[in-house]
Amino acid sequence: MKMFFCLRKLCNRAGPGASVLLCLAASACGPSARELGRQAFRRHDYATAQNFLKKSKNKANKNFVLYNLELGSAAFEGGNYHAARRAFERAAQAMRGYAGTAEGVVSLVANESAKIFKGDPFEQAMANFYDGLIYYRWGDYNNARAAFHQALMSDKSSADGYQEDFAVAQFMIGKCYRKIGQADNARISFEKARKACDSNPYFSREAIRDHNVLIILQLGKAPKKIATGPAGSLDEYVPGIYRETSARVYADGKLLGTSSPAVDLLRQARTSGRTAKDTIQAAKGAVKTGLLAAAAAQDDPKPGLALAATALLMPAGADLRQWDLLPGEIHLLSTKLSPGGYTFRIEFFAGGKRMNDFRQVWHYVPVEKDRDTLLVFRSGRQKCNANMPPRQNPVFRGENDNAFSGASKN
């Protein structure tokens, strides 16, 4: 009540203009559209997530890339591939660009998050990877190859020895080359994929020679970025919290196979490498820590307080922004199926134990005739959906989306 009368007194003194401002300030205390979008994403309500997240897509601020990555994730998982492609390409172009000098200079002396967010190499690679999957799904193998190439180029800025280990992008480049009739380039790409990840049986052109269905499974949650080092000036990735480690895929009740790991995003995140900016961050953190220690060691409170105040006001925090709607791992399964409609059942396992609340059943999933079928699934609790995944008709160079034959539709 006292607070109310204080506010009322303030409004009376300030006038009607300030009253409006105070109301606006009060209403801004609820969750933002972005946070509501992220919450919707986590409960697999991708349509709602897109509606909220698209409100931020054109905001020309330091988080432009992050807003578009999140929108891209929601649109991709919701099957809205045109919107997803646009969002990922907006983000990828900004990530590749060299803009943001003023913000970057500020970030060297202030908090690191003052700079324009452009993501770590693995995040840049994933944005391009998703873009490539969309083009591949549409049968535009040239643009798909180009997008996967960008994913590999993004990985080039990782630490030495880890610069060509985004194996799934190499694999997809190989598949694109095969589709556009460049057999030699396809062979080289498959060899590179196998070299980067020799445990995956599908990274072999012989193994997948007559396969027409590629299933990509996204497991778990993105690695989490935390502050570490002196005064939290450095960032570090720790595992995202999830249990699923593999998946088995069934089509019309018949087991197609067990998924095979293709990319571990935690490993990708941890092998991004330390650079000169981390050295600057560590120095900022060390100075801040030193000032605090000096303040504590002072006998006279006045200089002690001055040093403490200087230390507390000195910004040194690491940039903890991240694209946390990513999965933790990407798995693959390649197979051959006759064209038609199938019921796909995906069982997820934590070690050897089946996770019943993660089971997914998808009806009327079409396997295309005369074209590769790409299916992308994502693990999640209670994500069972008995309806056909949203299917985007490709409007690409007059191509018609002919319905598959032999399948019944509700």
Binding site: G97, G104, Y135, N143, A146, M153
Partner: protein
């Protein structure tokens, strides 16, 4: 000292305006530099390519006469470059420039509408829709096709991209390439220290 409400209100409004951040928007020329410049093709390169090709095509001796303008159909622009791009953009814009400046010396076929046109002709000949005239479907004298290629290298913070955009005209009878031109651009870039 009391602050009058008349003075406080505009100050508060101004503070909110500053705090909310200044958006920046402006219309720019298509061939201006992109705010997110990178080493790959930008709108400036696309405009330069289109202008280069259109200016060269309109001067070809094959298109010197308006008596019976040769017909040109579009084949594909193949993207072997380093990033996804809408390749239709090149062909459409070249066609537009040529239609504007060639003085009727070049005719274009819209093969993208082949199915719709043939369906409509069929309906007309069956009398199911009205028809004001009957014409033969145009055959192409030349095909305009293109390729985007690039040599894209990078490591750590450095990137170098050499992009070549080639267009050529092929005789639709003899398969002879009667003209070809390439727009070349090489760009290098270095990521700032704060970005990596």
């Amino acid at each position: 000292m009391s602050v009058s409400s008349k003075a406080l209100t505009p100050i508060l409004i101004a503070a909110v305006a500053v705090i909310s951040g200044c958006a920046d928007y402006g219309r720019v020329a298509p061939d201006s530099e992109d705010p997110f410049n990178s080493t790959t093709l930008d709108s400036k390169d696309i405009e330069a390519t289109i202008q280069l090709m259109a200016r060269a095509i309109v001067k070809l001796p094959q298109f010197a006469s308006t008596d019976k303008p040769p017909t040109v159909a579009f084949a594909e622009v193949v993207n072997n470059g380093p990033e996804p791009i809408d390749t239709e953009l090149f062909l459409e814009q070249i066609r537009e420039l040529l239609m504007e400046h060639a003085g009727g010396k070049i005719a274009f076929l819209n093969r993208a509408l082949s199915e719709a046109v043939l369906r409509e002709r069929d309906l007309k000949r069956r009398g199911e829709v009205t028809s004001s005239s009957r014409k033969a479907v145009g055959g192409a004298d030349f095909f305009l096709a293109g390729t985007i290629r690039a040599h894209d290298k990078g490591s750590a913070r450095l990137r170098s991209t050499y992009t070549l955009v080639n267009f050529n005209l092929t005789d639709a009878e003899s398969m002879q390439i009667i003209w070809g031109k390439t727009y070349k651009v090489k760009k290098t870039g270095k990521q700032a220290i704060w970005d990596r």
